[in-house]
């Protein structure tokens, strides 16, 4: 995963029904948005989704923690 140069991590959010909230369902490595959308849809295909969206991990800004979003530092993990 991510072994090719120029890859980025994309966070995937989805909901099954219109009234559901978007939930974070996973992360995918892709070189651009087109491939992130294709991979997300084709990888997380066990459910019939009402909506799926992806965003590059870099787009997320930490609010309360110093660590990068979606990561857990060794100190926090214990």
């Amino acid at each position: 995963m991510g072994h090719l140069s120029g890859e980025h991590l994309y966070e995937i959010f989805a909901r099954q029904k219109r009234e559901d909230r978007l939930e974070h369902i996973g992360t995918i490595s892709a070189p651009n948005g087109s491939l992130a959308r294709a991979y997300a849809w084709q990888t997380y295909d066990e459910q019939k989704w009402f909506e799926m969206v992806v965003a590059p991990r870099e787009a997320f800004e930490a609010v309360n923690r110093d660590e990068s979003p979606f990561t857990v530092s060794p100190a926090e993990a214990t």
Binding site: M1, H3, L4, G6, I28, S29, A30, P31, N32, G33, S34, L35, A36, R37, A38, Y39, W41, Q42, T43, D45
Partner: protein, 277 residues
Amino acid sequence: MSQKGTAGYRTAVDVPEELHADLASLLLSLADNKRLLGMRYAEWLLGAPTLEAGIACSAMAQDEWGHSRILYAMLKDFGKDPAHLEHEREADEYLNSELLDEPPAEWTGLVALNFLLDAALSVQIESLKDSRFEPLHYKVRKVLEEERFHFEHGRGWLARVAQTDAGRAALEEALEPAWISCLRWFGGGSGLVVRLAEAGIADAGPDELRARWLDRVAPAVAEAGLELAGVTDGSWAVPELDWTGWDPARRRSGEGGLNDETLAAVRGDKNRTMLMD
């Protein structure tokens, strides 16, 4: 809802006699191309540049086979035997694009099939979404929903490979024959696509379909900095096409056909003993 405010055809029986052969030929062409394209996707399950691309090829192969199965089944109503169509034809009876005659040697060749040929098939299928032949309506919508992600996959790989000079050169080499082949695939000034458009089975003839296809694929080609016929300095137009050797009935170059390995695989020759009943 049908085009031109005219009555729709609810079954194959309602389709006028003079349109039968053309409509059956269009469905068979789409079925054959999708069956073979699915095979080409499947061949990259284990050799794709990334794990994710292999998974995507698996998903796209399943989609294409699903689409071809639906189309072969529809041909039953046109007096064709789906089992014969799927397992008993010779190479010259397949209505496939010459791009599928043999497997692409490189990943860029698969990208060419994914981005250009798969899009050409989708443009043709989209022209049937409000067809007078009503059995197509629901099936076309389902196919196009899945094809959306095939297009994203092709476009994404085009952009990815085009990031380097070497990648762009490899892409141009792979895309050039596919580019001309896809432009020709929609057909010339006469032929079944013209007749089906005039009859309201499809909503456009060859020239309009070519323009739609170009508008779909050319922006990414231009953005990637690739030089292909008709694409210059960020704008595009259908280039002059050479129709030498064109076979309007098979919608392909008249010469050649599926190679032996492809024919054996697509017919399921190794499983013939299980097809006896």
